[in-house]
Amino acid sequence: MTEQQLMALLPFMVLAAASIVIILLIAFRQGHTVIQVTGFLLMCLVIFAMWYVRGVLPQTIAPLLIVDGFGALFTGLIVFCVLVVGLFSYIYFEEREENPREYYILIFLSTLGAAILTISRHFMSFFIGLELLSISLYALIAYLRTRNNAIEAGIKYLVLAALTSAFLLFGMALIYMETGSMDFAVIAQRLNAAGKSSALFLTGFGVMMVAVGFKLALVPFHLWAADVYQGAPSPVASFIATVSKVGVFAVFLRFCQELHLQNNSAVMMLISAVAILSMISGNILALRQQNLKRLLAYSSIAHFGYLLVAFLPGNNTGVEAAVFYLTAYAITILAAFGIIILLSPGEKDADSLSMYRGLFWDKPFMAIVLTVALLSLAGIPLTAGFIGKFYVLTAGVEQRAWLPVIVLVITSVIGLYYYLRIISTIFADSPVTIQKERSLNQFFYTASYAALVVLTLLLFGIGVMPAVIIQGIKQFLVIDR
């Protein structure tokens, strides 16, 4: 283990340390605020560390991990999301007078899991990261055990997650059986040596797809998404929507990259089929949904369908597109959930659409943020979502993947309808005012508002001046070449 490798792992160590630090703080009877602030600083520290060690990248920590630009990029995105989620969580839990301390342990643990996924190059690290992520998620989802059916959501997620990880393991076992290695690179070599990909390998991959599909909520493994989003506390829901999906997608992308699966017609066929199914059913399911959290769940199903379209080419454009899309998507979804959290009155979440009637005339700021987020999801210009969709389409057209592209277009037209439905509700007359008691801590309100402002500005900024981000992504991605 060279010193450089240690250096490269520094951010992840900090991340791991974070949860321990929190445990200690709790042991020392520190209050919510302290923990919150510490957590915030630690996350900033992670990002700083990432920036600090960028020089030594890429580093391979054989056999399990590889820290390269790719990983750094996704980790950065994940940590950013956690920062925002954490910020929102404070108010959310303060208003519910729950004891939120352990919440932070769990959230940092699962973040660590996601982070490990982004840098894993081996089935074991893949598996460990995934389980770290999901096991802490079970607890997180059910964290507010007395409230809006969190438990039910938790059980559902638990059963299905456990089931699918069994599939994952079995698939891994099959591939291991076939290739005699769990190291992505080695597997790739063996496969090339074998020439054509064997049935056993394909089966294995297919079985693994179940787990991946589950975590990314791809059709037909998407059924849990809506219930869990609805049942889980809003911050956790946003966490699932962003962090866990980013992490899993990262490792999936790396896996396919390493094995050059994009050249494997069977796999591509499978993936595009899944993509098309997800786009269609996601959008159709959302059409008449009245519950905002469920609706976001469905739209996220559709969006990961779009994302797979970008994923299809497997060339640089594809990866860039995917990363960019994820970034835009994460920011958008965080903004949307931020609004939900801030509007949620103490007892329950503000998830029924009727609560947003005429919001614009009551709380213009929030309404604008939400509207921008929705427009971004719908992919309307001036917002990041548009550039994202544009990027994805570019990748798709470049690959001449006409069928998925056409489906993408048609479904996003269908999708327009429900985004417009929310927007028209927001701008409808006769506003209903959501009365919600201001909690004591004004500071965190301003902080959250600030966060929302930042997110919105980011949405616009990326939408109008995407060049900066794209350049950044490119630079990071060249690191691992």
């Binding site: 210009p381 389409l393 592209v405 056409i406 277009v409 996003s412 309808y417 417009l420 927007i423 995407p466």
Partner: protein, 491 residues
């Protein structure tokens, strides 16, 4: 650079209005008005500068401005203005000014946000007319959509939600198809020349193999004919027009429809000339169908604004037919039609708005004999109905005459069919006059004639329509050098 400033002024003005919306002060209106007027003046200045030189050098770009935007995609912020754009932008600002004026009294609640949307729509439209980078074009194409949607959604009439959805979704559906086509073009050109760019001027040279080209062109065409609108893609129009507030209808009819025609002229014909020639027959056919179908629908309507909306369908049918005749005369006619239809139909919508303000209904069966209450408005209405049925000495006649004259050389049969549109237009126009202004007086209460502000609006419109009818050459010259370009016409 000046072009950018025009757009920026509108955007900034809009934001300013919005910021002031808390204090529901009259200043808002004035700011909006000022913003548009400044642009109008700037543009007039440009015309005076380049208008003459224009005739000399064959349709070159008067003004160009280009700066990198998203270099990694070869997207640049490239705007330019030639005769065609000049005319259309002129129309934009002219109607924009009137739109602000006719919202003056109509919009009381949430004025700030209203003018924000109004100005941003105008900005988007302006952008569409000057963009020379396909990505930028698409960008503006969508930008003008959202504020328009909000205009309909918030300040619209009873059935506004439905109309707003329909408007947005129809346009977006077309837009995305266009986006795909743009991308395909981008890659094909890149593969050929090695430089990946969205720049219109460099894409012009692209050679595309026929099988693909047909599809790519279809992408563009569908987007544009939905906006135009062409039967059977016209269904968003009657709802949007009839539900939108007066200014909204004015902008929809006067400007948004024109973006479709502009798109076809600017992009489809030059980029895919021979393939455009292949579909010419079908396009003209649908144009003719539009002329007749729209007229018949208009004749049946009882909702004043719906009626006018369907007349737009009919008039735009002439545009489609004229464009695909590939004759210079017809193309000039199309340009004239774009302008004059904008003015005449816009004026009719303004009048409809005024009537609605007074009678609180759009149902013409509840009107009648209004002339005896408001002779002045009646006179104006007479003028514009006559314009819309193509009475000589008014602009629309020049347009339709030139279109038909040119089209006849391309396809006599369709021209004859389209000419029946002249008869049909007489049918619905006179029916409109009869139901609304003539016949036994039938008004719930005493309604008073037009106010000073309304007089200014109507006077401006009337004068321009008459001038266009008597001295069209001024316009024809500006557009002429662009149109006579071999890209647009078959000699």
């Amino acid at each position: 650079m000046i072009l950018i400033w025009m757009i920026i002024i509108l955007l900034a003005g809009g934001i300013l209005c919005w910021l002031l919306s808390k204090s529901n002060s009259p200043a808002i209106k004035w700011i909006a008005l000022l913003a548009v007027l400044i642009d109008l003046v700037l543009l007039l200045n440009i015309w005076l500068q380049h208008g003459q030189g224009l005739t000399a050098n064959t349709g070159n770009w008067m003004i160009q401005y280009q700066s990198a935007w998203i270099p990694s995609f070869g997207i640049s912020f490239h705007v330019a203005m030639d005769g065609l754009s000049l005319i259309l932008v002129m129309l934009t600002f002219f109607l924009g000014t009137l739109a602000v004026l006719c919202s003056w009294k109509e919009i009381e609640k949430r004025a700030g946000f209203y003018y924000f949307n109004l100005l941003w729509t105008l900005a988007g439209i302006t952008g569409v007319f000057v963009a020379l980078d396909l990505f930028l074009f698409y960008f503006f194409w969508e930008v003008m959509l959202v504020p328009m949607y909000l205009l309909i959604l918030i300040w619209g009439d009873k059935n506004r939600r439905y109309a707003a959805y329909k408007f947005f979704i129809f346009t977006q559906a077309g837009g995305l198809l266009m986006l795909i086509s743009i991308l395909a073009l981008y890659f094909i050109h890149g593969a050929q020349s090695g430089t990946y760019t969205y720049d219109y001027l460099s894409l012009l040279g692209t050679r595309i193999d026929p099988s693909v080209a047909k599809w790519i062109m279809m992408g563009f065409m569908i987007a544009f004919v939905i906006k135009l609108p062409m039967v059977p893609f016209h269904n968003w129009l009657p709802d949007a027009h009839s539900e939108a507030p007066t200014a909204g209808s004015l902008i929809l009819a006067g400007l948004l429809l024109k973006t479709g025609a502009y798109g076809i002229i600017r992009f489809v014909l030059p980029l895919f000339q021979q393939y455009a020639a292949d579909i010419a027959w079908w396009a003209m056919l649908f144009g003719v169908i539009g002329v007749i179908y729209g007229a018949m629908m208009a004749f049946a309507q009882t909702d004043l604004k719906r009626l006018i909306a369907y007349t737009s369908v009919s008039h735009m049918g002439f545009v489609l037919t004229g464009i695909f005749a590939f004759r210079e005369i017809a193309m000039q006619g199309v340009i004239m039609q774009i302008i004059t239809h904008g003015i005449s139909t816009g004026a009719l919508f303004v009048l409809a708005g005024m009537i609605k303000e007074r009678l609180h209904t759009r149902d013409i069966s509840q009107m009648g004999g209004l002339w005896s209450y408001m002779p002045a408005m009646g006179g104006a209405a007479m003028l514009f109905t006559m314009a819309s049925l193509g009475l000589p000495a008014l602009g629309n006649f020049i347009a339709e005459f030139l279109i038909l004259l040119g089209t006849f050389q391309a396809n006599p049969t369709f021209t004859v069919l389209a000419s029946t549109g002249l008869v049909f237009s007489a049918l619905y126009s006179l029916r409109l006059m009869q139901k609304v202004f003539l016949g036994p007086p039938n008004a719930p209460h005493k309604v008073n004639d037009i106010s000073g502000r309304e007089f200014i609006i109507l006077a401006a419109l009337s004068i321009s329509i008459v001038l266009l009818g008597l001295f069209p050459q001024a316009v024809l010259d500006v557009a002429g050098k662009v149109i006579s370009n071999k890209l647009y016409v078959i000699r």
